[in-house]
Point group: C2
Chain length 181, copies 2
DNA sequence: CACCCGAGTGAGTGTACGGTCACTCATGTG
DNA sequence: CACATGAGTGACCGTACACTCACTCGGGTG
């Protein structure tokens, strides 16, 4: 049976997800996460002994949600061509990241990936996403690579606030990129 | 005539470039930059009154070097088709970022782009790069967008250390991506 | 009842960082 | 000589943060 600590850990991880997504690893304090999770900082350390482990847990939640969304997208295009499946996954991803949280956390993770544990967690997540997209769409390596490349471009567009600028160069970068609502 | 402060400022900016590229904005202290520049922290603050201004200066140096490299790449394919010019620019960029410094700084900048001054500086740099690639190659919006998207994928490959892993999914992401030597 | 054990916290500790300021020193100028 | 000016720094301040620890509380078990 699960102890209350085991029950609370994923709740804290979810709070860490939103907190770290806001400020990144170095820009977010454990106290910030504790406040979001409505527990004391001391107890956060009892659940996750080091700040890095908290970030890793947040990343795992992040990629969990992403893969789930991609799966739903793939379901919606069941039996279609690889392009159709990848396209539907792209739509699902675009929908998922409307609130930017999952996207921002990935960007922050990229910038601290030189910390071994954090880099490992990032690679593990990317492995899941890439493998899933590849197998589920049955697309060629080129198609999957392109899918991921445009995902990265999308991250840049959002984090740098490029779409809002409306200038010519911004249109070049963002034309045809999905953004629901 | 230039005061010695005006002469020293770009030197400090160059030091800031490498220091911030290593640790990011929050992960690098002004004292780190001062040490690299071989001056006292107090004097860094006299040259750049706030840490943000130091980072902005580093970003400007970064994009300056990138545009210069792209220009050299474009020269090497003078008169070729848009694809050929963009391809040559890509080669030049791949060569430029062998040591990862300029690449890492861009990724770090992306993760702190919500700080207004830093986001502005990032957008200004991206505007220069995108506009330059677009005008100099005379490529279509699609071609330029694709050029930038694969640049972003390249950033992910390097920062997350994906090429080293050698696993199947890593090959999917990195196949055909240039990496001289 | 006595006892234990996990949940949860308040109150700290050491350290490090952004930023300031009063100061020294060298150079040039009347 | 007296004096101004800019380069450059040491010592400091307030604050904030990662992490610790001794403690309390409440529910289960003999």
């Amino acid at each position: 049976m699960l102890s209350t600590a085991d029950i609370r850990r994923p709740i804290v991880a979810a709070a860490a997800l939103t907190a770290f997504a806001r400020g990144g690893f170095h820009g977010t304090t454990v106290a910030d996460v504790a406040r979001d999770a409505e527990i004391s900082p001391a107890y956060v350390f009892k659940l996750f002994p080091r700040k890095e482990l908290l970030f890793v847990a947040a990343l795992e939640v992040c990629f969990e949600r992403i893969v789930a969304a991609l799966a739903a997208g793939a379901d919606a295009a069941e039996g279609g061509s690889p392009e159709a499946v990848l396209d539907s996954m792209g739509d699902a991803y675009a929908h998922l990241i409307r609130d930017r949280t999952l996207l921002q956390l990935q960007v922050h993770a990229q910038s601290v990936a030189d910390v071994p544990e954090l880099g490992d967690a990032l690679r593990a997540g990317l492995a899941r996403v890439t493998t899933f997209a590849s197998e589920r769409s049955a697309g060629s390596d080129d198609q999957v690579q392109r899918f991921m490349a445009f995902g990265q471009l999308c991250h840049l567009l959002v984090t740098a606030g490029i779409e809002e600028s409306g200038e010519r160069w911004a249109q070049v970068l963002s034309h045809g990129i999905r953004h629901p609502e």
